[in-house]
């Protein structure tokens, strides 16, 4: 697991104990800490803010109802940390919604072409958050989910395959194709300037020619 998962928040054991005892303020504290990571994950998977908000609600309700059954500790010193348990619930909720709306038809065509993995670094445009978000939004939901679970949350192909009830090969193919398409989406505008920009360039060139004349 990468350390940069937005879920990686160590929860104090005292807070967890209070939540297990059913204290509402402790519940609220946990909710405030994890609402944005859960909502972000749900939005990346579902691609819809309203649906992501519903995933957030359902996830938090499940967490609060089952927190007494959680056997780990807040920081994960003695095993699975609380945030990983919560994230697992969130991922399951989001993927369940994805399956329920039968969005699998939008998958990128699958061949056994994951040998063509994209190991090149992302294009510079990937540093632009808005542009990267727009490019992600154009991917099919399942492909985007695989990309996000693998790169942002650090799941392995086997884990993704289990979560999505598919094979590891499916996860690798989705990752390879998704990465390539994402790169194309990010590099496309840079390689091919828009017609308006081209017209501007031509106009500037014409002005310079007139001045030289």
């Amino acid at each position: 697991m990468p350390a940069n998962s937005s879920f990686a928040i160590d929860v104090p054991d005292a807070l967890l104990a209070r939540a297990r005892a059913g204290e509402r303020p402790a519940f609220e504290q946990l909710y405030r800490w994890f609402e944005r990571p859960v909502f972000t994950l749900a939005l990346r998977i579902c691609g819809d803010r309203e649906e992501a908000a519903e995933v957030l609600q359902d996830t938090m309700l499940k967490v609060l109802n089952r927190v007494a059954d959680f056997r780990g500790c807040g920081s994960g010193a003695d095993g699975s940390p609380f945030w990983a348990w919560l994230r697992q619930i969130a991922v399951n909720e989001a993927l369940m919604r994805l399956r329920s709306r039968r969005a699998h038809g939008g998958e990128v065509a699958i061949d056994d072409d994951h040998a063509l993995e994209d190991h090149a670094p992302p294009p510079p445009a990937a540093a632009d958050a808005a542009q990267l978000q727009r490019a992600l939004a154009q991917l099919p939901a399942v492909t985007r989910s695989v990309l996000w679970l693998y790169h942002a949350e650090g799941y392995t192909h086997e884990e993704i395959a289990t979560l999505m009830q598919r094979t590891a090969s499916f996860s690798k193919s989705q990752l390879a194709r998704g990465s390539r398409r994402l790169r194309l989406l990010l590099e496309g505008p840079a390689r091919e300037p828009s017609s308006a920009a081209r017209n501007d360039i031509l106009a500037v060139a014409a002005t310079l020619e007139v001045r030289h004349a």
Partner: protein
Amino acid sequence: MPDNSHSGADNGALAAAPQDWSAAFAALPMETPPGDGWTQITRRLDAPSSRHRSARRERRATWLIGMASAAVLVLAAWSPLSRWLQSAGDDTPAPAVVATTQGLRGPAAPVRAEPAEARVAVATSQTTAAPDTVAQSTRVTTVPSHRPHARSARATPKQLHAASDAAARRLATAASQQPAPGPDRSVATTTTAASDADPLQKLKAQSAQLEALVALARDDRVGNAGLELLSGELDAGIATIDASLSQSDLTTTRQQDLWRQRVDLLQQLAGVEATSRWLAAHGTSNDTALVSVD
């Protein structure tokens, strides 16, 4: 809250190219959910407790309705069963009798007494009753002469409870009596057969059983106007019959007719009281069943 915001989140401008996709994704700002999700969560957290309360209420109501239904079924089955048991061994069907009873506001509706059916097969079970049982039954039939007069003298629930307990004890005593082995059996059989052969004794025993049944079913704490009126009419009819029975110069035939009318009225009264209890337990009334006549 721990500061886990991403370094690139606030940097909207193009920065240096990320090293890999993980770094690029990690640099994306976290999304903020719309509205106040916690308020909705608390609302949904509170909802199950109210649902549980309503479910508990429903379960209690269902249990009450079930108990009331069972009681009504027992009451409904008890009266024909007692008649059937009482008529066992009587091969000669009694003629249908149509009589008119006097109500509070004039003559009540004619009461039809069905002819008793012959139940030869049960005669054997009837003969198992011991002589004490017969004596007890005879003693019970003295109730009409001591019956409180009409509705005004209706017993309190406590008294009714005591009366019903006494009736239940009497019935239990009768049921617990086993036929004595040896020579006593023939004596018991002879006595019981004599009782079965006497229709007047049979009617008196039946009347006593119905009295106990009415005492069990009656509850003055609940009821509605329609059923109370009907119950009062029946009580008045029974009181009129009791007054007639108290006369000394009655022929045996006349006595039988009066006792038969009394049994019929008591059967109707038991049905009315059972219906009243059922409606009260169900939380409804039959007021809507009343029809206004212009």
